[in-house]
């Protein structure tokens, strides 16, 4: 098997465009949750908060490519450009190279366009009013098709679709394609855009935060006694995964090595997290990495602030780290739950922590809940050298994903 390393990273998050903005937000312990005025009068939508990106997508991308891009594709394009820049890879090396691939996941096609286009179609019943560009925004692989067209990618192009595990599955798929020698470089990650229907889908399942509409900065509250659900965010996280020898041959800076990945279904319940299978997923990824629990210096949890999900993840973590000495934190309190983008965005944040030798705490975790105890929760920044970390993503539908990285 070949070895896969991370040589490029790019992010769009509720804090803004770029890793610099993300890091600044994390460093200053800011919560990006806001009250959304436009949702105030929506009947049945009890959660009125979200973590939006205030700066709207710019017009730097030529219209030829931008015309079929909804915000999630624009976020992916900006994140990919940052990833290429950080990797020192010129656009000319990307296009027309069958060994350069692209894998991006998200929960659905553009929810903004799905809503606007189908609202009109259902209202008028007139298919003559359906724009061609709407189709390319609503299709289930919209981000990756747009990104691949924009960059002229002719290697493997795939979309992963497993809701909140989509992005981490994309990184895992890239890892496998690199290890098996099918590709030399792959841009991979996830992208997501905010819409009332997205928050609404969690709200009807009683999974969205509803008690903090008047104090948005206090939610979400991963692992906290007073947590009441998740807050939807938006953005994109894109990494460049590269075959080690290829990276070394071009003198690339290597941020970390991907050494283990696993994804699995729980086979038990469509919306209820299964701690036993979560544990299996994490342990399998760690074992695949040739590691055991003692080798893991940090866990970047999925924990979104839901009652059941956080307790299940805590239970699984307790089983893997019975002595409770491995620091665990969730970043949802800063940037909300960016769903399909959350895995890659938080993976990149974990790589930032690795470089800085600091672990960012779980924001809004004031009192660890009884059902989340037994885990070393990080509540204040910790200075620590991270040599090896585990990143989790769990999705509705019983889909689990876990990825292990180590310093290089």
């Amino acid at each position: 098997m070949k070895r896969a390393v991370i040589t490029g990273m790019g992010v769009v998050s509720p804090f803004g465009y770029g890793i610099g903005d993300l890091t600044a937000g994390l460093d200053t312990k800011r919560c990006s949750t806001r009250y959304i005025d436009q949702w105030a009068s929506l009947e049945g939508l009890n959660s009125k908060v979200a973590a939006p990106l205030d700066i709207k997508p710019g017009g730097k991308i030529p219209r030829k490519y931008r015309r079929t891009m909804s915000p999630m594709s624009i976020f992916a394009a900006h994140a990919a450009e940052e990833a290429l820049q950080s990797a020192g890879v010129d656009r000319k090396q990307v296009g027309d190279n069958p060994r350069f691939g692209c894998i991006v996941g998200h929960t659905s096609g553009s929810p903004q366009t799905l809503y606007s286009a189908y609202s009109e179609l259902i209202k008028n019943g007139n298919y003559n009013m359906f724009a061609a560009s709407d189709f390319f925004r609503t299709i289930s692989h919209t981000a990756v098709l747009n990104l691949a067209q924009y960059l002229g990618i002719t290697g493997t192009v795939m979309a992963t679709s497993a809701a909140c595990a989509s992005g981490l599955q994309a990184v895992g798929a890239a890892f496998d394609l690199i290890r098996t020698g099918r590709q030399d470089m792959i841009l991979c990650g996830g992208a997501e855009e905010l819409h009332k229907t997205v928050t609404g889908s969690f709200d009807i399942l009683f999974a969205a935060s509803t008690n903090y509409n008047d104090r948005p900065e206090a939610t979400p509250r991963p692992f906290d006694r007073d947590r009441d659900g998740l807050v939807c965010g938006e953005g994109a996280g894109i990494l460049l995964i590269e075959e080690l020898a290829h990276a070394r041959a071009r003198g690339a800076e290597i941020f970390a090595e991907v050494i283990g990945f696993h994804t699995c279904g729980n086979g038990s319940h469509i919306s209820r997290s299964d701690p036993e299978i979560m544990q299996v997923c994490m342990e399998t990824a760690v074992k695949a990495a040739g590691m055991n629990g003692e080798n893991i210096d940090y866990v970047n949890a999925h924990a979104t602030g839901t009652e059941q999900g956080d307790a299940a993840e805590s239970s699984a973590l307790k089983s893997i780290f019975p002595e409770g000495k491995t620091p665990v934190s969730s970043l949802k309190g800063y940037i909300g739950h960016t769903l399909g983008a959350s895995g890659p965005i938080e993976l990149i944040a974990s790589l930032v922590m690795m470089r800085k030798g600091v672990i960012y705490p779980t924001l809004n975790l004031d009192n660890v809940a009884e059902d989340c105890k037994g885990v070393l929760h990080v509540q204040q920044p910790i200075e620590k050298q991270i040599h090896c970390f585990l990143k989790n993503s769990f999705a509705f539908g019983g889909i689990n994903a876990a990825l292990v990285c180590r310093s290089y």
Partner: protein, 86 residues
């Protein structure tokens, strides 16, 4: 709608939907070659014109003969008149 109204409305579609500068919108401009639209854009152009003018254009065979902006102005004037009087 007057001829001037039609020209203004069509030009607005090209400016707003396709980001073509107003100064480039001359009657003799070729929609593909001069204004840079392609076949995918034409689908969206038709949808945008239908919304703007409140008419049906998509299934009209005459749209295939349109080459320049003047052709489009003329066709829309005809279609608008036909569908308004129908």
């Amino acid at each position: 709608m007057t001829e001037s109204d039609i020209i203004t409305a069509v030009n607005e579609v090209f400016c707003e939907e396709f980001e073509v500068p107003l100064k480039e919108l001359t009657p003799e401009s070729q929609i593909f070659d001069d204004l840079g639209l392609d076949s995918l854009d034409v689908v969206d152009l038709i949808v945008a014109l239908q919304k703007k003018f409140g008419v049906q254009v998509r299934n009209d065979e005459r749209v295939r003969e349109v080459r320049t902006l003047q052709d489009l102005y003329d066709l829309l004037e005809v279609i608008k008149r036909e569908q308004t009087s129908a």
